[in-house]
Amino acid sequence: MKASMRTAGDWIARHLVLMIGLLVLLYMLTPVFVVVLMSFNQPAGRNTYTFDGFTLDNWTNLCEPYQLCSSVGLSLEIGLLATLVATLLGTLMAFAMVRHRFRGRAAANVFIFLPMATPEIVLGSSLLALFVSSGLAGKLGFWTIFVAHVMFCLSFVVVTVKARLAGMDPRLEQAAADLYANEWQTFWRVSFPLVFPGILAAALLSFSLSFDDFIITNLNAGQEVTFPMFVWGANTKGIPMQINVIGTMMFAIALIVVVVGEFGSRRRGRAVL
C-alpha cells in the first residue's frame, strides 16, 4: 500500500487510536494531579476534602498528624526488607525455571501463578487463619506483615525475572563457559548484568506492591499501622492533607528512579522498558 493511496479516513483512524490512548492516559493521571494539587491545599475544615486555598504547610509540617510519619517509616522498612527477600528468592526461582531441567516444571508453574490468581482478601484471610490456628493471634505485627508481603511479592518477581531471562539467548552463557568462565564467573559477568534490568524492575514492582498493600496487611498487622492503614483510618476521622504530600513524594521518587534507571540502562545498551 503506497502512502499516497492512504485515504483521509485512514489517516484519521491512525491518529484516532493515539488520541483515544492519550485520553485514557489522562484518565489514569487525573487522580495524580489531584493528589499533587491537594498537597498544597489549605482545607477550610477538618472533614472537608475540597480545595480551599494554597499553602505550603502540609509540606513543612509533614509529621504533624499523629502516626503519619511512623506509619510511612514502617511501610518503608517493611517494603525494603520484603523487596530484598522476595527479589532474592524469586530471582533464584526464575533461574531454576528457565535454565534448569527438573521434574514437575508444570506443577511449579501453577504453584507460582496461584498466589497471583487468588484475591487478596483470600490471601489475607487464609494467612490470618493460619496465624490464629497456630496461636499467633496475639503476636501479629511487623514479622507477620513481612512474611505476608514476601509471599505475595514472590510470584510477581519470578514472573518478571523469568520473562527477562527467557528473552536472553542461552548461548551467551555457553559462550562465557566456552571462554573459560566458571559457573560463578558466568553468572556475575554475563547472566546477572543482562538480567539485571529485569531484577531491578521486579524489585521496584515488589516495593510498590508492598508499600501499597492494604487488604492483606490490614488483616495481619495486629497493632502496627502501615501507611495505607493510616490513610484508611484517617478516612473515617478526616483526612490530613499531608497524605497527599507523601503521595506526591512517592510519585516524584518513582519517576526519578525510573527515568534514571531507564537512561542508565540505555547508556549500557539495554532498555528496561
Binding site: 487522580p31 526461582m93 507460582i112 497471583m116 490464629v132 497527599n244
Partner: protein, 298 residues
C-alpha cells in the same frame, strides 16, 4: 493491592538441550517454594479448616473443629447479593478496562514512536502514588460539588439530581481506574512482540487496516488480553477499598463482608465465604482460560 504488573509475558522455556539437569535447579527453587508452601499453601488449607469450625466458638475461647459444612450454605445464602454484585462489578470493570486499555496499549506499542518510553512511564508512575491516596482523589473528584458532577448536571439529558459518589457507577469507575494498568501492561507486552512485517503482509493481503487488525493483531494479542483480563478481574472481584471509599451500604461487595466478618470475630463464616469466593473465581477463570484456548499464562 497488587499494583504493578510484569511488563512482559514470559516466553516458553528454551529447548531442553539448552537447560541444565541436576540438583542445582532444585536448590535454586527450594527457598522460594518453601516460603510459598508455608505461607500460601498451608494457610489455604488452614482457611478451609477454619471454614469448617463450629461457628458458636469465638477467638477468645477457641473454636471446635466439627466439620461444620453448614457454614457454606449459611454464608452463601446470607451473602448471596454481595457475591453476585462483586462478580458483576468486576466483570463490568474488566470489560471497561478492555475498552479503554486496548487503544492505549495499542497506541503505545504501535503509534507512540519515540515517545513510547514516556507513555509507559506515565502508565506505571501512578502506581507509586499510594493506591488509597489516589482512590481518595477519586472520592474528591466524583463528589457532589466538584466539576465532574457539575458538568454532567449541566448536560441537557441528565437530571439536576445526578449523583456519582456512593453509587455503583463510582465503584465500577474506581475499580476500572485502579486495575487498568494491569490490563494495559501485559497487553502491551503481547502487542510489542508482534512482528511488524506481519502487519505489512496483512495490509498487502487484506488492504483494509481494520481487517488486518481483526485478522492478525487481535488474535496475536490474545495471550495479553487473557492475562490482562485475569489480572483485572481476579483482584477486582475481591476488592473492597473502592467500594468502601466510593460506594454505599447498598453497593457492598463480598470483600467488605469478609473483612467485616473477620473483624467481628466470626472466623468460620468469614473463612467459608473466602473459600466460596476463591472456588467461584477459580472455576470462572478455568472456564475462561479454556474457552480462550491459551496456556501461555505462566
Amino acid at each position: 493491592m497488587a499494583h504493578v504488573v510484569p511488563t512482559e509475558i514470559p516466553d516458553a522455556p528454551p529447548a531442553p538441550e539448552q537447560q541444565r539437569r541436576g540438583l542445582a535447579g532444585y536448590l535454586l527453587l527450594t527457598p522460594g517454594s518453601l516460603w510459598l508452601a508455608v505461607f500460601f499453601i498451608v494457610p489455604t488449607v488452614s482457611l478451609v479448616a477454619t471454614s469448617l469450625y463450629d461457628p458458636s466458638g469465638s477467638l477468645e475461647f477457641g473454636y471446635q473443629m466439627t466439620g461444620h459444612v453448614q457454614n457454606y450454605p449459611h454464608a452463601i445464602a446470607e451473602y448471596w447479593d454481595p457475591i453476585v454484585r462483586s462478580l458483576q462489578y468486576a466483570l463490568i470493570a474488566t470489560v471497561a478496562c478492555m475498552i479503554l486499555g486496548y487503544p492505549l496499549a495499542y497506541a503505545i506499542a504501535f503509534k507512540a514512536g519515540r515517545y513510547k518510553t514516556i507513555l509507559l512511564v506515565a502508565v506505571i508512575a501512578p502506581f507509586f502514588t499510594s493506591f488509597l491516596v489516589r482512590t481518595l482523589a477519586w472520592q474528591y473528584l466524583l463528589g457532589d460539588n466538584e466539576w465532574v458532577v457539575t458538568f454532567l448536571r449541566w448536560l441537557p439529558f441528565t437530571g439536576a439530581e445526578l449523583q456519582l459518589i456512593n453509587t455503583p457507577v463510582a465503584v465500577v469507575a474506581g475499580l476500572t481506574y485502579n486495575f487498568l494498568p494491569f490490563f494495559v501492561l501485559p497487553l502491551y507486552a503481547s502487542l510489542e512482540k508482534i512482528d511488524h512485517r506481519l502487519l505489512e503482509a496483512a495490509g498487502d493481503l487484506y488492504a483494509s487496516p481494520f481487517r488486518g487488525f481483526l485478522k492478525v493483531t487481535l488474535p496475536l494479542s490474545m495471550p495479553g488480553v487473557v492475562a490482562g483480563t485475569l489480572l483485572t478481574f481476579i483482584p477486582a472481584a475481591g476488592d473492597y477499598i473502592n467500594d468502601e471509599l466510593l460506594g454505599s451500604p447498598k453497593t457492598r461487595m463480598v470483600g467488605n463482608e469478609i473483612q467485616s466478618l473477620f473483624y467481628a470475630g466470626d472466623y468460620p463464616t468469614a473463612s467459608a465465604l473466602s473459600v466460596a469466593l476463591m472456588v467461584t473465581i477459580v472455576l470462572l477463570v478455568a472456564v475462561y482460560v479454556w474457552r480462550a484456548g491459551t496456556d501461555e499464562l505462566v
